[in-house]
Symmetry: C2
Subunit: 433 residues, 2 copies
């Protein structure tokens, strides 16, 4: 029998316990597949006394996760603490500095510091594997980095946050408003007590930054990702989207334009329901990569949770044990250029604009004039309902226009006396075929 591989796991939250369970339950299967037994030798977490429902009696305990990372008996370090800074970061840095391969599911760390950590790992000649950091059970890192390695990709578009997709799906199916569905999602455990990380799009932006680095073989500055969450999506807009034949999803979009710059955007978007990604509902994630010569390839599956994320973490462990260590961001990191990112208002596309206006003569003319003065071509402009002197919704759909022009027109429209609430702007997204 070949020697066992000794694993140190830093972080025993839901995913950490999921990894321990999986390594134990599939110990024989994994040994058969990769030729070595994968043995948890040491763990670290904050509170040793807490009952986590797994037997830790044969495992060494470290109060100090950084010490675990440097422990000479450990062959591979698994970092599941999370966070762009603090202990999680220290564990990864110490392990790499000690020449140990690292497997992590820490999306914030990779998104913010991946541009330094990935080259550091490559200089040390050890793996820094992070399949679990993006889209949980979907092997999307491997798909982009290896499966589609022969392609020149021009876009990666994804539903990257299951909480948001669940909320938007529920809103559409039940007609309820955001706050109500969020409260229910929190009660069911699909959303955190502090939901801002999910619903404001930060989590999706972390994943998008990693996907963009992989797809375009570049260093991504996380501050370059434009982020807009789903708090402002109302039941009214979801209704109008259905009427217009669209479905609203929170998308992460990395798309290379004709000038070579890559747009990096996270925001709610309207998608035609004929597109396969439009039918990905509930907590599922999906990623569509488009490039030449392959065309479009989509992966759909569970994007979070102990089981799916453990599946990704242990797959990385098997790669490490098999000695498989392709370049972290798809090409050797010391030659990775910073990704040239397009300004967000360079976007060229169609828009949905919904206003609440006083139902009186002349309002539509003022709105139309603002669009004309910003050279925006309007596909439809419809007042929904009649209520003279009262507030009624007006829905505008544009032809392709630049975001700069659109924002100019929206600013002017917002100042009209007859416009009673802040305008709601939702981008209409064409998927590549």
């Amino acid at each position: 029998m070949t020697p066992a591989v000794r694993i140190g796991v830093a972080g025993l939250g839901t995913v950490g316990i999921g990894v321990l369970r999986l390594l134990s339950q599939h110990a024989d299967l994994l040994a058969r597949r990769c030729g070595h037994r994968l043995v948890v030798d040491a763990v670290s977490a904050r509170d040793r006394t807490r009952d986590r429902g797994v037997d830790l009696s044969s495992v060494r305990w470290f109060d100090d996760a950084a010490a675990l990372a440097e422990d000479p008996r450990i062959d591979v370090v698994v970092e599941l603490i999370g966070g762009a800074e603090g202990t999680g970061r220290k564990v990864v840095e110490r392990a790499l500095a000690s020449g140990k391969p690292v497997v992590t599911a820490n999306k914030a760390l990779l998104a913010v510091h991946g541009g330094d950590l990935v080259p550091a790992a490559e200089r040390q000649g050890v793996a820094l594997a992070f399949e679990g950091a993006v889209a949980g059970g979907l092997p999307i890192v491997k798909t982009l980095r290896e499966g589609l390695v022969a392609n020149s990709l021009d876009s990666v578009v994804g539903i990257l946050n299951g909480t948001c997709n669940y909320i938007l799906t529920q809103m559409r199916e039940t007609g309820r408003d955001f706050a109500e569905v969020l409260a229910e999602a929190q009660a069911l455990g699909y959303a955190e007590a502090d939901p801002s990380f999910d619903v404001d799009g930060i989590d999706a932006a972390h994943k998008l930054a990693i996907l963009a680095a992989l797809a375009f073989n570049g260093r991504v500055d996380f501050a370059d990702v434009m982020v807009e969450g789903i708090r402002e999506i109302s039941a009214l807009d979801i209704d109008f989207a259905e009427i217009l034949g669209y479905r609203i999803k929170l998308l992460g979009i990395a798309r290379r334009g004709a000038n070579g710059q890559v747009a990096l955007r996270v925001h709610p978007a309207m998608i035609a329901p004929g597109k396969p990604i439009a039918s990905v509902e509930g907590v599922l994630n999906a990623v569509v990569a488009h490039g030449a010569p392959v065309g479009s390839v989509m992966s759909v599956g569970p994007g979070a949770g102990a089981g799916p994320t453990a599946s990704a973490v242990v797959a990385d462990l098997v790669d490490v044990v098999r000695g498989h260590n392709p370049p972290g961001f798809g090409a050797p990191a010391d030659g990775l250029p910073p990704l040239a990112v397009a300004p967000p208002d360079d976007r060229l596309g169609a828009y949905y604009l919904r206003l609440m206006v006083v139902d009186r003569p002349g309002v539509i003319a003022d709105i139309a004039a603002a669009m004309r003065d910003h050279t925006i071509s309007v596909e439809s402009l419809v007042q929904r309902g009649r209520a003279p002197g009262e507030s009624v919704p007006v829905v505008i759909v544009t032809h392709d226009t630049s975001e700069r022009q659109m924002l100019g027109a929206v600013a002017r429209i917002a100042e009209l006396d007859a416009v009673l609430e802040p305008p709601r702007l939702i981008r209409i997204e064409q998927m590549d075929d």
Copy 2:
């Protein structure tokens, strides 16, 4: 600069030319990603004089593909001749015997002889890579073998033949019958002049045999795959499927039952349209893998064509160049047990049965009695339309029953005087969630 990798390509059909084009167009991208230049050093095909639209002047020509496979200057052999026997097989065997890694897109060869070739490659310590053999541009071999390596899979279900999916999609969208849509598909180049390989399910069965070997780490005897094509699907059945809320797809199904035996079946199936795979239309392929702890993961994309298949072949080349060579069927081949395959009539599931009967009193009672006598529980039994003394369709949907009982009932029903045409039986497939 690291040395170039010299590639020999045997077979210059659509895919072969696609590979040559891709290696040329993405030469710099690939060199950056994998650290070596991938250079086509030699090719072989039947007719040297044919103009294939690519410049072969700097490439050595072999009339004898087997000689190319053994040529000492060649580092990797790419076999794109196809076929379970003949030259394609010889090229792969000779290359492996010469200790050369092989990349192939030959699904028939892998399905029929994979159980010998994969162990042969492993004994030699060289790669036998076959991503291009299943579902073209989808990196499904890598997904099953590496991305989901930590899982115990219980089913792999796929739309594995784009020609059949195109025909069934067209039939549904236009209401036309099989023969008419097939003729159109042939005119458009979506179906071969001799379509039997596709429409009779053989091509899908080849791919299913490979997926099953990967998912369950076993040797598959291709003769164990139960195969039924789409020739008998009529516009009438597609209509009734819609009415009942189902969509008809040709599925390849590998599913492990409670007794450990694996069902291996290719046949048309009715799927509830809420399932993501039901909305995969046209020439696209899709594969859903279900297992623990990941749940369901689906990949969707182009399953054939020069570009997508070349994408897979060149991805395999990059793996070979990176020295990445995991066990061909997911676990070392010398320890692979033969897969225990369930008899096809062990299937437990629901059925759609459509009859053409004389519209007269007593017929329904005779049919119902046949179902009762085979202890089949009927969910619905509906005569569609009225035409006393004439032929009318009767559609029956059963609750879960064994295929053995179902076939017994169908045989008895077929013998009734009032039943005018051979009964049409279509399995209703529940997808794992």
